[in-house]
């Protein structure tokens, strides 16, 4: 049975085949020929029964290695998906940096190990080919297997790279956010505060850092005043003040941002609206030009109709003339007939 060459639908079957490999390995341990081939032959649908029965130990060695590499690639991709999930999930607070780092290192090691293993596999295959006495199918099969493994490894490496880039982007975003909330990490408390009373002050761009701290103190005391008006509990004014101070400083920057950002956002909105308007205008122009063409066609149709009707009218007029003129002809024919009759009558009578 000829070996089918590499198709991308393999990927879906891999897990099944690997589970089969495991079960086969456990159950049919002595039949070393079958099992490695079953593992290696998991790459293709056909050709499970043929050569390995007669193949040398080298053949099964190849199959075993291929199976191992496939398994390792699968495991690496699993770890990679875990890493991707972790990287996506990272919030500002409980950043599992440690785990991510460890996972990254592990995956990198595995990938490099897989690379070397794949190179070894290729070397083994070449040595097999050189020994001769191997069927053509086996060589093509082994070539297919190696190619498939290489492709898989390449995909895994690409995914790894993507995950790393995503991770760095997330880190950058977190850094920005952290800078925004300059002083410290009491971030949960800002939200309820923002909801109730958006208190903030905005340092002018020319003035530098020392101002926010001083402003924080004054605005926090103002907030305290306002909060007293609201009749909030004054149980721990000092604690409250320090909390509010922190919150003030954290909100100053976001609200300053908010003002500027809202202006920037409004500008963006205006710009996008103008773009949409231009789109609408071009569409309108297109439609009108198309309809203009239609109008020209209508015009032509009407002209044709006019010409036809005029022609028909002339025909009918001629017809009318001919009909009316026929009578003249008939009169003349009658006269001739009568003349003939007269002559005939003369002859007879």
């Amino acid at each position: 049975m000829p070996v089918r060459h590499g198709q991308s639908s393999f990927r879906d079957r891999t897990d099944e085949f690997f589970s089969i490999v495991e079960t086969l390995r456990r159950s049919i341990a002595p039949a070393a020929n079958n099992v490695p081939y079953g593992g290696g032959g998991g790459r293709s649908d056909g050709g499970r029964r043929e050569d390995p029965r007669s193949a040398a130990i080298v053949q099964s060695e190849f199959k075993r290695r291929a199976a191992n590499i496939g398994l390792a690639i699968h495991q690496t991709s699993q770890k990679l998906s875990k890493l991707a999930k972790l990287a996506k999930r990272t919030s500002v607070f409980d950043d599992p940096t440690q785990e991510i780092q460890e996972l990254t290192v592990v995956i990198k090691q595995e990938i490099s190990a897989l690379n070397t293993a794949l190179l070894d596999l290729q070397a083994v295959r070449n040595s097999q080919n050189n020994e001769g006495n191997i069927s053509r199918d086996t060589t093509t099969h082994s070539a297919t297997v190696v190619d498939d493994l290489k492709n898989r490894l390449m995909d895994t490496t690409k995914e790894f790279k993507d995950v790393l880039t995503m991770r760095t982007e997330n880190m950058k975003i977190h850094e920005n956010r952290r800078q925004l909330f300059s002083s410290n990490a009491s971030k949960e408390s800002t939200n309820p505060f923002v909801r109730q009373r958006p208190l903030a002050s905005k340092p002018a761009p020319s003035q530098a850092a020392p101002l926010p701290w001083a402003n924080g103190a004054s605005s926090s005391s103002s907030s305290q005043l306002v909060s007293r008006k609201h009749g909030e509990s004054e149980s721990a004014p000092l604690l409250q003040q320090s909390q509010q101070q922190q919150q003030q400083q954290q909100q100053m920057v976001p609200l300053q941002d908010t003002y500027m950002q809202s202006r920037a956002e409004a500008l963006h909105n205006v710009e996008s609206t103008i773009h949409e308007l231009s789109n609408i205008f071009t569409q309108l122009a297109t439609m009108v030009s198309q309809q203009g063409e239609i109008a020209i066609r209508i015009d032509q149709n009407m002209e044709d109709t006019l010409a036809n009707v005029e022609g028909a009218q002339s025909q009918l007029a001629r017809y009318l003339n001919s009909i009316s003129s026929n009578r003249w002809l008939m009169i003349k024919i009658f006269f001739v007939l009568i003349a003939f009759l007269m002559v005939f009558l003369f002859f007879v009578a």
Partner: protein, 199 residues
Amino acid sequence: MKITALLVLKCAPETSDPVILANASDVSHFGYFQRSSVKEFVVFVGRTVASRTPPSQRQSVQHEEYKVHAYNRNGLCAVGFMDDHYPVRSAFSLLNQVLDEYQKSFGETWRSAKEDSSQPWPYLAEALTKFQDPAEADKLLKIQRELDETKIILHKTIDSVLARGEKLDSLVEKSSDLSMASQMFYKQAKKTNSCCTIL
């Protein structure tokens, strides 16, 4: 969307209470007896907020159902009492305008003011009425609004153009039918004419 009051104060740096330089308030929607108390409340809250606003900073404080926006610029502070619906950006641009106008008309004389001036400043009063509509204060808002209206009009235009297209299509069909019919008519007439003579 309502402005209740506009104030211009001079904020001495945290030593004393700010000095009111101009005041305009619209208390018409309060009952007659509440008006004076509302005015005083406005004055008091304005002074407090202005004293707490550090120089060259903007601040928005929520007080009961009003938002008080304050903008302190080099010791000259503008405070506005708006309700919650008034967009914050427009509020601050309005305060900007007020400050610019004040500086233009009064120059630097306000720096020497020591006590509340009670002369009404007409610009402030008319600004209060004019800027009840936030679009007036904020050009961006006005532009956005006009653009949206234009977009609506354009949508209607496109709809009518589409209807026009449909009518034109039906016209094309009818005119082509007409030309076919006239052609048949012509052929028929020619046939009856050209053929053999009829008795």
